[in-house]
Symmetry: C2
Subunit: 221 residues, 2 copies
């Protein structure tokens, strides 16, 4: 049986969602973030990078969300419910699968890191200056970039009901983590289509089962 | 004819390399980084994200390195010279295509940003404290992460001549940018297989033609 190594409040939530959409039997091995919010060292016993998600399936040990979702689609979705068939939507599918972690998430991770420069474990005496530096980087570069990306994704969803066509696909599942993070910490207003897409996702029975399996899913702002 | 919108010293260098390996006719539209090292606003006329690489081909406008390389492979590589055929190497291929920008590059981008906290445009009076904060983040988190990833990639290349099997593939082309960045700014010693792989890359005639086309390629430390 397929095993998912699942870290709470993490990217592996979307692998549970994919498995629930596909109806693949699986078991979960659970890991809890440490006080630092980092993954526990025990994950390194499964994969040298010590990251989650990692899946084990028929002797294969695979990390990296995009690669895992593509593997699941090719292995467990023979009727291609979660991958579009026509060429134009396939190009979109591939784009969003790469864009989610290749372009959007790095900006939102950087936002999280800079938001934290005014908080512990940064020493008390440095926090005011930490905030000042963080505001400088955010105003000078980061906020503008995040706004550009938010408008880009919003305008795509204004014209498409799902990321790669008229149906849910792995592209939506891959985009769920960065879109939820964007809405939680991006600081960008007026994104009605992103909010509507998030609501559609949360109403899916497979998403709801995934939350029951994986635990509450609130991305820190 | 395929058009590549190319920014100097950027990720689009690897798209030129891919086109040269495949022997696809193409034209280059050139963009120069501004003094801030950011891309010029004129790139936004081509694609709303204002990024490079972007390719235009038969009416399609496509961004995101991983998606572009997969598109080129599927469109211009009918004999599959740049994609392995067997299942195990295909899984590796897919992994490295996602890992390059999804996991490795974000760490190296963050390294670049934190290295810059002690330099202009950070105001003179803040630079010492900027350095102090940067050192804290780097020692507490970033350097350890980069070391873990460097050892992981090194151990893969200790057992494989190329990233996905015995031949060059798009996985190598996608990994070239982060590996060059890792060797330039990662601060990790003793990576002989990464250095050997870089040398093999630089000896390829298609790489050398790509450098002639795209201009010198030195990733800032």
């Amino acid at each position: 049986m397929l095993t998912l190594h699942h870290l709470n409040q993490s990217r592996s939530q979307r692998v549970i969602w994919a498995l629930e959409e596909l109806g693949v039997p699986y078991q979960i091995v659970r890991y809890q973030r440490e006080k630092t919010m980092l993954a526990p060292p025990s994950l390194k016993k499964i994969h040298p990078l010590g990251k989650s998600p990692v899946v084990e399936d028929n002797g294969l040990i695979l990390a990296e969300s995009g690669a895992i979702l593509e593997y699941l689609q090719e292995t467990y979705d023979p009727e291609s419910h979660l991958k579009p068939q026509d060429a134009a939507h396939k190009t979109q599918y591939r784009f969003w699968l790469h864009y989610a972690e290749g372009s959007l998430m790095p900006l939102l991770m950087m936002k999280l890191v800079f938001n934290s420069l005014g908080k512990p474990p940064v020493p008390f005496g440095l926090r005011t200056l930490g905030n000042l530096l963080a505001q400088g980087v955010q105003k000078g570069y980061l906020n503008g970039q995040i706004e550009t990306h938010a408008r880009f994704v919003e305008s795509h969803l204004a014209e498409n009901s799902w990321f790669a066509g008229d149906h849910l696909s792995m592209a939506d599942i891959q985009m769920s983590f960065p879109v939820f993070a964007l809405l939680a910490r991006g600081g960008v207003d007026n994104l009605p289509h992103l909010h509507a897409w998030k609501k559609k996702v949360e109403m899916r029975p497979a998403w709801q089962r995934a939350i029951q399996q994986g635990g509450p899913f609130e991305i820190p702002g």
